[in-house]
């Protein structure tokens, strides 16, 4: 996909056959696309990836080319519709696999094998192939066939038990974070497989990525908590509202502000709110004094009136000046208009026939290539937009393609 003279992206000579759908797998192949990979997304004819039918929709009107979720997850991909239930559809997948370095799939365990497209089948036609499977619980084990959705995968894998307030129920993370994290791990697994093939002349490899395990491995630093439990015998708990002196979420004139307190940081907070004289007192002047549990409530009475008189941004600027660790509880609107993200042109405008140009989250990483900005992303494909193009690349004639269309294979 490179035109001569264009500065290269690391994967712009790599082809990925993308048999993923929903959220986890597509998030991963999207990242391979960000790094320049030619991602060929295989979709079911007529309806496509189920996320095409999932909100948010542009102007809240449903439609296969209106889902923001789909548009977000599928930038830099080409869409080919293919009926995998048909023999000819599966033959086309095998033809595509011959010219690809990576296959990523996210069907229920066993599905690819049942279709004759399992790793053992595909490596016969491409011994250097890296195949990555993303599933909820992995390809084997007692939970293999459990139904996984974001909520129960976080409950089991993430550290939900430690998330939230001591006197209230455990909370999930926002949106689809656990699924996306697993997709990210699938991108890494695929790249690691490719590295073996190219740098160590290894055979292809099969990567088994489980959402449950990638979460357990360490959303919310869970690996530290698992070790900590074994060290201390104590189970993780949800912290109460204010657990450290000066710390917690404090109300401001226009919202809320998260601050990290504790005996080590409190002197800076005291200076920030202009109460240096406190540091001369026996209660506040020594680390031991500041560590007394009574100090927590006492200090709330000092700091809350101070934060209430200031905006989130004023508190943030003060934190920066006094080396206090904290951050405003922003809304997504605040985020998109945040001066830091604006200064770096982080959010990218991407044009789409349905929406016109709108803002998307930017790149995860910025490559400082000599004399080259990061490339612009291509919008998510319309359903089957590249079917003809990709089949032509495979050597099929216009007649062949018309026949496949007539038979509902593509």
């Amino acid at each position: 996909m490179t035109t001569p003279g264009t500065p290269i992206m690391p994967l712009d000579d790599v082809r990925i056959i993308d048999l993923t759908h929903m959220t986890a797998g597509p998030f991963g192949t999207r990242i391979l696309g960000d790094y320049g990979g030619d991602v060929i997304k295989i979709e079911r004819p007529e309806t496509g990836d189920p996320t095409r039918s999932m909100p948010p929709f542009y102007k809240d009107v449903p439609g296969l080319e209106r889902s923001g979720l789909f548009m977000f997850l599928n930038t830099n991909k080409r869409s080919v519709t293919l009926d995998l239930k048909s023999e000819r559809g599966r033959e086309i997948v095998k033809e595509l696999v011959k010219g690809a370095q990576i296959v990523v799939e996210s069907f229920s365990p066993g599905t690819m094998e049942a279709l004759g497209l399992g790793y053992e089948d595909l490596k016969k036609i491409n011994p250097k192939l890296v195949m990555t499977s993303v599933s909820n619980y992995g390809q084997d084990g007692p939970y293999r066939d459990y139904i996984g959705i974001e909520l129960n995968l976080y409950a089991m894998g993430g550290s939900m038990i430690s998330s939230g307030d001591a006197d209230n129920e455990p909370l999930k993370t926002a949106g689809r974070m656990v699924s996306y994290h697993a997709g990210y791990a699938a991108a890494l697994a695929s790249a690691l497989g490719l590295f073996q093939v190219e740098f160590r002349d290894a055979d292809g490899d099969y990567m088994d990525v489980s959402v449950f395990e990638t979460a357990m491995h360490s959303i919310d630093m869970r690996l530290g908590r698992l070790m900590g439990y074994q060290y201390t015998g104590h189970l993780g708990t949800r912290p109460g509202r204010a657990v450290a002196v000066g710390g917690g979420v404090h109300p401001c004139s226009d919202g809320y502000f998260l601050m990290t307190g504790g005996p080590r940081f409190i002197p800076n907070i005291i200076r920030m709110i202009g109460m240096e004289e406190l540091l001369e007192t026996p209660e506040w002047g020594t680390a031991e004094g500041r560590a007394e549990p009574d100090r927590i409530d006492e200090f709330l009475a000092y700091i809350v009136p101070w934060t209430l008189e200031r905006s989130k941004e004023e508190v943030r600027a003060a934190c920066e000046e006094f080396a206090v660790l904290g951050g405003p509880l922003n809304t997504i609107e605040d985020l998109i208009n945040n001066p830091q993200f604006m200064a770096r042109n982080y959010f990218q405008e991407i044009d789409h026939p349905t929406t016109g140009p709108i803002k998307y989250p930017g790149y995860h990483h910025k490559l400082h290539r000599e004399g080259a900005e990061m490339p612009k992303r291509r919008r998510a494909p319309l359903l089957g937009e590249h079917t003809g193009e990709v089949l032509t690349e495979l050597g099929l004639s216009a007649e062949d393609i018309a026949g496949l269309r007539a038979d509902g294979v593509v």
């Binding site: 542009y58 974070m177 357990m216 919310d220 439990y229 060290y231 201390t232 998260l258 080396a323 400082h368």
Partner: protein
């Protein structure tokens, strides 16, 4: 580049080999990576690189203690250790021991397979040692406040001149430029700025109760590992090294992609969702029998809803007008949650999970650390192994987060390095200093396994 294990010292005896004994068949064997990472996001990245076979050299110092990497304080009081509520910061038997910095749970979890050297970079000879290390390494990974790296002379301009093939991965919170370049931040503050806790927190409570978990850190780590592989591929194709900037905030915002898109398309601002789904009901966590035990239950379609009603032995709910379709259930979800809670209250979370999964309803027990380390599925999958640490004892540790068929059983080969544990190997075998020169580094205070007594 391969670690030169065959080098000899001035007496003709062999220098020490890599103490972590990397398996030459692992995918990243022969790669050497300089590790300036702190706290969790960066170390989780170099942990993946170490697990898959790279030689990771943590550059540390006996005169500087990076808080929260090897514990909150170098020498915490017994009472402070006992009062710790975040178990990631826990220590064996809740005792600081002789060298508390070798006993932090989270460090001892993510540090496995890595090496530790100590050097004082505020000296000429320290900087010379750094230059030697850069010259024989494939990459450098760091996640610090940008200027604190630059103050130590660690800049792309300098390092790429020493080693034009170097891959440098920098993971500042917000970026190497922009108004927040110098804004000191941990993962939780960065997530707050990025909008996460306000979406995540309780619908019916003040945002003062917002949770402070940090899912972003693990994603930053995975990203750093990927960035290394991408950098190596760029090098292979162009012959040039590469600086990859991976700000943790920019890496994290895509994990909130749904919310960015809804704002871009519809101007909608989601806040205080708690365990609510965007549109599905039921979708919540319910209290079960036992202390702080919970189970999640959700239904994505009518089939699952009917199965749930059957299993709760409340088939009449299917025809209840309040719950007749997803839209009605979503509207009346508070009433629905009361009914489900009444059913879950006297049952075991794991029993509910298994019963509901049997009939195809998505459900999961909210599993704590004990449940996790004893989980039968993870046991079957070989998720855990055991590692012995000389100052912390023997405990279960995790294998890699995904499995490779070519490389079964990849996980810890050695305990997390004690501060300065591998100085001799690194100074002599990697950097090529003689025994005399090493003794000189020792005399000048670079070498050590203890923090300077002045550090609290």
């Amino acid at each position: 580049m391969t670690a030169d294990n065959s080098s000899v010292n001035s007496l003709g005896a062999p220098n020490p080999g890599n103490p972590t004994k990397p398996d030459p068949d692992l995918p990243l064997a022969g790669m050497r990576i300089i590790d300036f990472t702190v706290v969790f996001a960066g170390p989780y990245g170099t942990m993946q690189l170490a697990d898959w076979g790279a030689e990771i050299i943590r550059v540390e110092s006996t005169t500087h203690f990076a808080s929260t990497t090897r514990g909150m304080l170098a020498r915490p009081a017994l009472a402070t250790v006992q009062a710790q509520t975040n178990m990631g910061m826990g220590m064996p038997d809740s005792e600081p021991g002789e060298r508390p910095w070798n006993r932090s749970a989270v460090f001892n979890a993510h540090g496995r397979n890595k090496l530790s050297m100590t050097v004082n970079l505020r000296t000429e000879e320290g900087q010379e040692a750094l230059e030697r290390l850069v010259a024989v390494s494939d990459a450098l990974v760091e996640n610090n406040l940008p200027q604190s790296m630059e103050r130590q002379g660690i800049t792309w301009e300098r390092l790429s001149e020493i080693n034009p093939k170097l891959i440098m991965i920098r993971m500042p919170a917000f970026g190497l430029d922009g108004p927040y370049k110098s804004y000191r931040s941990w993962g939780n503050h960065m997530e707050a700025i990025s909008g996460h806790p306000l979406i995540r927190t309780y619908p019916d409570l003040s945002p003062e109760y917002a949770p402070a978990g940090v899912p972003s850190d693990a994603a930053s780590g995975i990203g750093a590992t990927l960035a290394f592989l991408m950098g190596k591929r760029y090098l292979k194709r162009t012959g040039k090294g590469l600086l990859i900037e991976a700000p943790t905030a920019e890496n994290f915002v895509p994990l909130l992609g749904d919310f960015v898109m809804d704002y871009s398309m519809n101007g909608r601002v989601w806040t205080q969702m708690g365990n609510n789904h965007f549109y599905l009901a039921p979708h919540n966590v319910y209290r079960t029998q036992g202390e702080d035990q919970w189970v999640t239950i959700a239904c994505r379609n009518e089939e699952q809803w009917q199965a749930l009603c059957e299993r709760m032995r409340h088939p009449e709910l299917v025809n209840d007008p309040r719950f007749k379709d997803n839209e009605s259930r979503f509207e009346n979800r508070a009433e629905l949650d009361v009914i489900i809670s009444a059913w879950t209250a006297e049952k075991h979370a794991s029993w509910i999970m298994e019963q509901l999964q049997l009939v195809g309803v998505p459900s999961g027990a909210v599993i704590n650390e004990r449940d996790a380390t004893e989980d039968r599925h993870l046991e079957h999958r070989g998720f855990f192994t055991r590692v012995t640490h000389p100052e912390a004892g023997t405990h279960k540790a995790l294998m890699t987060p995904f499995k490779s068929m070519n490389n079964p059983g990849v996980g810890p080969r050695r305990h997390s390095p004690r501060l300065g544990e591998d100085n001799e190997y690194i100074y002599k075998s990697v950097l090529g200093y003689s025994d005399e020169e090493y003794a000189e580094f020792d005399k000048k205070g670079h070498i050590g396994m203890d923090y300077d007594p002045s550090i609290p």
